[in-house]
Subunit: 226 residues, 2 copies
């Protein structure tokens, strides 16, 4: 490992709510403080979902603005990545906060099943989000939940909608999407390096799988996420 590693933190996904886990940060103040703790512990990147007062996921630009402002103040230099994940709305709602110019934003480049739902990212939505990221000079983190999304990413680069070098996260172990399987990860990395030369990557897993994925990522030359 001679490449620098980014230690990143997702302080809250789109699903857990206070009812499941009272420690999940919901209010902007809680989210800022929780990010600050991770920053003090060494995290250099935060992946951000925001919530409504009732704990449901939101893509309210005002919420994103408040949390971003707090993190910039409390955690100087930390990379802020907004989630454009699908649980917080469709179409325009998904990218309506990108004018806030976070450093990065997530971008899923295809559709797949997630547990019991269809995680729908239509090609038109993907183009729209990628165009906004270009316009506001936001670095996308591609979220690849299945193999086709790696190839779709390369096509977005060819079409000028994503700037090379690409940064991509292999998201494993969500039921009905790609499993946490070393052979599969290695194959996806190989294809990714072929079609997106010079790209960087991380690998994510759900729950107990994250530690395993971090280990594999270190061995295979990726970045690390906590």
């Amino acid at each position: 490992m001679t490449r620098p590693c980014i230690i990143s933190v997702a302080i809250t996904g789109s699903l857990p709510q206070k009812a499941n886990n009272p420690a999940v940060p919901i209010t902007p103040a809680e989210q800022i403080e929780s990010t600050h703790e991770a920053f003090e512990a060494g995290a250099t990147l935060v992946h951000l979902h925001v919530r409504n007062e009732d704990g449901s996921t939101s893509s309210d630009p005002a919420r994103f603005a408040e949390v971003q402002e707090g993190i910039r103040k409390h955690c100087p230099g930390m990379i802020i990545q907004f989630s454009t994940g699908g649980r917080s709305g469709q179409g325009d709602e998904r990218g309506g906060m990108l004018h806030l110019k976070p450093d990065m934003a997530s971008l899923a480049t295809g559709s797949v099943n997630f547990g019991s739902i269809v995680y729908a990212n239509s090609p038109a939505l993907i183009d729209d989000l990628a165009e906004r990221m270009l316009k506001y000079d936001i670095k996308p983190e591609i979220e690849a939940f299945d193999l086709s999304m790696v190839f779709n990413t390369a096509k977005l680069v060819e079409r000028g909608l994503i700037k090379a070098p690409v940064h991509l996260q292999f998201v494993t172990s969500i039921p009905n999407a790609i499993p946490a399987n070393r052979e599969v990860l290695e194959f996806m990395i190989k294809q990714y390096e072929k079609v997106c030369p010079g790209g960087t990557w991380t690998a994510a897993g759900i729950g107990r799988h994250q530690l395993e994925l971090n280990k594999w990522a270190l061995e295979l030359g990726g970045h690390v996420r906590t």
Copy 2:
């Protein structure tokens, strides 16, 4: 190649209409005759979509019944496979003709983008179609448009919703789904053989890709589709 090969024919996909190609068979009589020609030329399996009078895709059980009856009469012994593909409706509409007990029916085990649309196959719909196929003793042909669908298939077998050995088709070269790429096909086959031991498979490609896929399938031990 010591294994027997099935030569199959898809007389019409879900998309082409008379306006694009006047040779596309639309009426039951046309579909039966077109299948008969393929049968005489050596095809042993027909993959069937049916159409409304206006040429749009349909999952009308009466239409399927009429075409099936004609094929059974004209093409004795030919394997009839109904499409449960998504362009012809959602939910109950997708499997409402399975009580007609075709020999086989197609079953996509996940969601993916197809060209400009989201080809949504929710886990609930997949379970529903698989249960109907079990109930009516129909052999599913799994349609794998992406890698996760191979793993999802194994989980359906584990849950008793699909009987082993599995028959699966790798469907390549639909824009935004898995490309026609030999290395990808070989990897998918390897994973498939690992998680669905004893399974058989075919490989499909769109347009000019089909010949290439047939060649690869012959070399790699699959069946052939025309």
